[in-house]
Symmetry: C2
Amino acid sequence: MPELDHVGIAVPNLTEALEHWRPLVGSPASGPEEVPSNRVRVVFLSVGGTHIELLEPTEPGSPVARFLSSRGPGVHHLAFRVPSVDRALAEVAERGGQLVDRVARPGARGRRVGFAHPTSFGGVLVEFVEGP
Amino acid sequence: MPELDHVGIAVPNLTEALEHWRPLVGSPASGPEEVPSNRVRVVFLSVGGTHIELLEPTEPGSPVARFLSSRGPGVHHLAFRVPSVDRALAEVAERGGQLVDRVARPGARGRRVGFAHPTSFGGVLVEFVEGP
């Protein structure tokens, strides 16, 4: 059974977002880190055995910038830790689900990641993160 | 530091939603349970140390029904486990944040719960759940 690695939250500005979250969850566990493949700058906050990832877009027109324009700040994706991202993506496709990524690509924290399409999980954008 | 108790996902229909989530996360950890105070029927799925809560509205016009009408299915709230819901809500108010509930009320699984307003956490609806 996969664990919830993190909840990704789209924010217009990391510094302002940290002012909202820090009183509740404390200091960043890592970051800020720039993730060129997703055109975001991110910070991870520890919340028990999982994390909150705050995502600030680094470019207008990038997926997170477009999410912010259309829906405003809020939860952007749920990320599950799996032994193999390629296999997790293939399993979604085998069940007839749609994918954003057909194979893993580099993500934050040096991990291999891949996204399924929100239609595959009833409207929720799901990321797979490779790790133990 | 509070732990992430669960991620609440609004769905039009629990049975159909479970078809999306069960291949990834396995069988329900609890439920279905009707929560009259929130006018929802819920199921909890274990994902490592935290949970996914699927929320199906039981009445048109209820908050989750209105969320589904305006935004479609997706992540509805993040819930953090705290020693005292009343104290957690008071701390949000002391920082100038807005609340949905001023004091705790009965929630799912026999727990005391309370919601802060999304503006208090940069657009994310945050629930506090009382527990160890």
